[in-house]
């Protein structure tokens, strides 16, 4: 009888020890290897899971370009698309990668944020359709069902594209499929989707030999804009200019390295995101490279074209997405002053 209770107590303490051990290991922080001692921590919240769009960032980190200029850069992954700007405004991260439309919306809400560089010069958002849907141009969407990612300004982009093509938007049924754009098309539940990227979902489908029809949104009548931008708080732009300039310098070197060796960059993406497929990431990096440099060769990597921003901001305003035209308000939503060779 005594053995029973001793056994019970032993089992109970073993259970407790296991739980405590698990707890301690969970609480222990994972230390990143720090190359140079005197670096300033700098958290960057990505727009989504690490992918090809972040190639220059991860390459610059891996090659130590950031630590050379005194920055210890940590990427973090959000859970939804509005999160990066929210946490940036709240002061929890130092920089957020977001979308030009999203930034303009945030500023319209009163958040004091500014974009200091563009990762991608053009929109990546596209209308994508499988051949079986018989959609080859925007006007073919009349009377069909389009899957969207549930993002308001993308719906507006779709309506603009439809109107430009002479289609009545109300003849098109929109279904919110979240981020399951490709499965929605594969299952035949939608004729086309809006919200997939020509450098991601389209390539996925191409690698599956599905030969999708891809219409980037700026080819469908929506004014061009920078799909991915680097955003910081306005006060940081005022006070931490040195760090921001250093960041962009290092990032530019990273971009050059990606051009030189895209395969290595793809491997880095997979290391950061084990779910990513290296073949897709490499194809995506190579497809995106032409869109990362501005068309005007004298402008540096990350250049934000003022005329394009003005036009797009005006478009958002006339579409009722924002309450005031960004061109009329005080400080502009973007600045090129920290890009290499600028603002000096």
């Amino acid at each position: 009888m005594r053995a029973q209770s001793t056994a019970r107590r032993a089992a109970a303490s073993l259970l407790l020890t296991c739980i405590c051990a698990a707890a301690l290991s969970a609480c222990g922080s994972k230390q990143d290897a720090v190359s140079a001692p005197a670096t300033k921590p700098f958290t960057v919240m990505l727009d989504w899971f690490p992918n090809a769009d972040h190639a220059s960032l991860y390459t610059a980190i891996a090659h130590g370009y950031f630590s050379t200029v005194g920055l210890d850069v940590h990427p973090v992954v959000p859970t939804e698309s509005a999160e990066p700007l929210k946490l940036l405004a709240a002061g929890k991260v130092d920089m957020a990668i977001s979308y030009e439309p999203q930034l303009l919306l945030a500023r319209d809400e009163g958040l004091k944020l500014v974009s200091i560089g563009a990762l991608v010069q053009r929109p990546l958002t596209s209308i994508i359709a499988l051949p079986s849907a018989h959609v080859h141009k925007v006007s073919d969407l009349a009377g069909k069902r389009v899957g969207t990612a549930g993002i308001a300004y993308q719906a507006t982009e779709l309506h603009t594209a439809l109107r430009v093509a002479g289609v009545n938007p109300s003849s098109v049924t929109e279904s919110d499929v979240g981020f399951n754009l490709v499965p929605a098309m594969l299952s035949g539940k939608v004729a086309a989707t809006l919200g997939g990227y020509w450098n991601y979902e389209a390539i996925q489908l191409q690698q599956m030999h599905k030969n999708p029809v891809v219409i980037p949104i700026d080819h469908a009548g929506v004014p061009t804009y920078n799909e991915l931008v680097l955003v910081v708080r306005a006060e940081e732009a005022r006070t931490d200019g040195v760090d921001l300039r250093a960041f962009l310098q290092a990032l530019t070197r990273g971009e050059q390295q990606v051009r030189a060796n895209p395969a290595a960059a793809a491997a880095l993406i997979v290391k950061a995101n084990p779910s990513a497929e290296e073949k897709l990431q490499l194809a995506s990096i190579e497809a995106t490279l032409p869109a990362t440099l501005p068309s005007e060769h004298s402008n540096p990597y990350g250049w934000q074209e003022p005329a394009a921003w003005a036009t797009f901001g005006h478009w958002m305003f006339t579409q009722g997405l924002i309450h005031s035209d960004p061109n009329s308000a005080g400080l502009p939503p973007f600045t090129n002053e920290f890009l290499p060779g600028q603002g000096i």
């Binding site: 009888m1 005594r2 029973q4 209770s5």
Partner: protein, 278 residues
Amino acid sequence: MPIQLKPRERRQQDTSGGSQAALTNAVGHAPAEQAVVLDGVSHAYTDRRGAPVHALADVSLRTARGSVLAVVGPSGCGKTTLLELICALQQPDAGILRCEPAVLMPQRDLLMPWLCALDNAALALRIAGLPRARARERGAALFDELGLGGFERARPHELSGGMRQRVAFVRTLLSGKPLLCLDEPFGALDAITRQEMQEWLTGALVREPRTVVLVTHDVEEAIVLADRVAVLAPRPGHVIAELSVDLPRPRTRTNPAVIALREQALRALNLGATEDGR
């Protein structure tokens, strides 16, 4: 030797005219060997519907220290109320009640299923602050003495009804009170087990003498176990007969003297029944 804990105050009620009983902290003993003294005790309470129930009316009883008083009577004669008054769970509305410190052993054994028999028995000691090892030591000694050796680690669900009552009795003993109030301790057991338990209880009281007030519906049991038997009639509960049982222990049911006393008691009970026109 009876196990003593910290002495507790006794309650002394002296009322006339039914006013609220006054508590005193006097640490005096009941007169001489009288462990229990009831004089003209009356008590009523209101039932769930708000109607008054006269549980006891003018009850007078005495019992000497170390002796067993059995209280028999049909249901409704106030036996349980009597025990609760003796154990000071309630105060009588009228009359004098002076008793030694008492502990109540309820009808159901109420053993805690998560404790082994020994821990159940030693409960009062643990409540008093004794560390578990010490409490178990004392309990184990009593277990051995009373023939329960070997059952210390058994869980209540593993024990028979009779064993559980025995453990409950040891628990009652270990509470350290000199007066035990037993409320139909063997009521739920079958006849054969009941007889075993009566023999066991007799032996236990020889080893651990206490003053006992025993409530039972079994007249035979009362005569076998007690030194004095009080017969109560119901509505309101009052004493209609008191018998002295001056027989040597252990007593057998077949003993003519026992049978004779049993007849006496039954006659008194019937009398009580016809008295109330039942």
